[in-house]
């Protein structure tokens, strides 16, 4: 079992790796490697990386249990904050580059029977309280149980985020469905594990379930 806590380099290394999609996107943008519709490319790529980071974040807890690397917990907050970071860039791309702050259009987009935009906004907004309360201080302030409850909003954010992707495509729904399947496995694992642990006698070891 790797002892991540003993390798001081592991956290900065993961941080840099998580930045790669962003650096790569900025490079492609300014090197002229994007398509004829660069704003669409920026939107698509930040959107897909948001979903990927949500999935990666949600896989930390199952991975800790299944492959027995409890020290993976060390990276979970950072991974979650990167999901928020890509969601934020994605959201700003829509508000700024795509709609150029045309608030009337944005509001119309959200309310006029278009779950596509509404789901995207909801998925992002749900992550805001998690980003704010991601510090140790906030865990203390809220208490572990309440903090954990709030942070289960990531399940909802991920579900709504996959729906947003599903509503974005035309008929080529295979890719959104693939993300949906991965998410179903990640959430399903939690239910199974919870069921197993719940059957144990009181006092048996039970790691917090996120």
């Amino acid at each position: 079992m790797p002892k991540f806590n003993r390798w001081w380099i592991s956290k900065p290394a993961v941080f840099v790796v998580c930045l790669v999609p962003m650096v790569w996107l900025v490079w492609d943008t300014f090197a002229g490697n994007l398509s004829a519709n660069p704003i669409e490319d920026i939107r698509n790529r930040t959107g897909i990386w948001t979903l990927r980071f949500l999935m990666i974040t949600l896989s930390v807890t199952p991975l800790r249990r299944i492959i027995g690397w409890p020290s993976l917990i060390r990276f979970r907050r950072m991974l979650g904050l990167f999901a928020f970071f890509y969601a934020f860039v994605h959201f700003i791309t829509y508000i700024w580059l795509d709609q150029a702050f045309a608030w009337d259009e944005i509001v119309k987009d959200m309310i006029s029977k278009r779950p596509f935009i509404l789901s995207g906004v909801a998925s992002f907004v749900l992550l805001i309280p998690l980003a704010i309360t991601s510090t140790k201080k906030w865990i203390g302030r809220l208490g572990g149980k309440r903090w954990q409850m709030i942070h289960r909003l990531i399940y909802l954010s991920a579900v709504v985020g996959v729906l947003h992707y599903y509503w974005r495509v035309k008929l080529d729904i295979a890719r959104p469905l693939a993300y949906g399947a991965v998410l179903a496995v990640l959430l399903g694992l939690r239910l199974t594990v919870a069921a197993v642990y719940d059957r144990r006698p009181v006092g048996a070891h039970r790691a917090p379930l996120q």
Partner: protein, 320 residues
Amino acid sequence: MLIKRASDIASSEITPENLYHNRREFIKTASAVLGIAAAGAIVPACTNSAVSGMTQSKPKGKYDTDEKPTPYEDVTHYNNYYEFGIDKADPAANSGKFKPTPWTVSVEGMVKKPASYSLDDLLKGLTPEERVYRMRCVEAWSMVIPWTGVPLAALIARLEPTPAAKYVEFKTIMRPDEMPGQRPSVFGSGLHWPYTEGLRMDEAMNPLALLVTGVYGKPALAQNGAPIRLVTPWKYGFKGVKSIVKIRFTDKQPLTAWNEAAPQEYGFFANVNPQVDHPRWSQASERRIGEFYKRRTLMFNGYAEQVAQMYSGMDLRKSY
């Protein structure tokens, strides 16, 4: 072939330095926007000045727009042609094996001259024209493209449909060996092949409807629908069926590809209409490829004068 020879093309029309212009324009604007982000201000919309002059060598035709044509590089590398893959870069990347010659078009149904024609025979004697049209995709982006083609009306007049014919149906070729998107795949388009499109007879006879064989004065590339495709500039781009092998005259409204796959989202008519949104996104505005800010979408894509009368009395919310 009735495609202009290269010598007909003014050199200004194919100047290579124009090719990447709009990307540079985007980068310039993006840099400017990011640079002044702290001030919270926004730069004025960019002006693609360097792309001008592309068709200035030719007198402006009756149906031509004088808007700046989208660079050839973008017209040939940002395409929706699902037979070659669902991403915009796929048609250019995956169409290398496609053979546009020899080509046969089968004319069928309620017509006095049903037959299989070689492309040359089909178009023989019809005069090709260059038309600079706007092209509005249902995905809310648009281009300006100089097409070369013959008016569909001229071909139909020559084929002589019977009075019973009320619609024309077109089909794209079926060649899974050369068109990877036609092979069965989980990550496919969700459309049924071969791609089918259709027009009401009066729409087909409208002078704007063009059977296109060339782009920018050159033979059309596979990704643009070689060797022959339909262009109906007042309708969303997906009506422009590509690589046509079948033209059938019928008295029944054809079941078109997108209409069949998602009838609540894509209608038979598919006229560009800023007042009737796609169920999932707005059609009120569009992004012209190469421009930073969106622009308002025009009724019938700006061709109301030529086409609106065909739809008078129709509820365009229902007949979308």
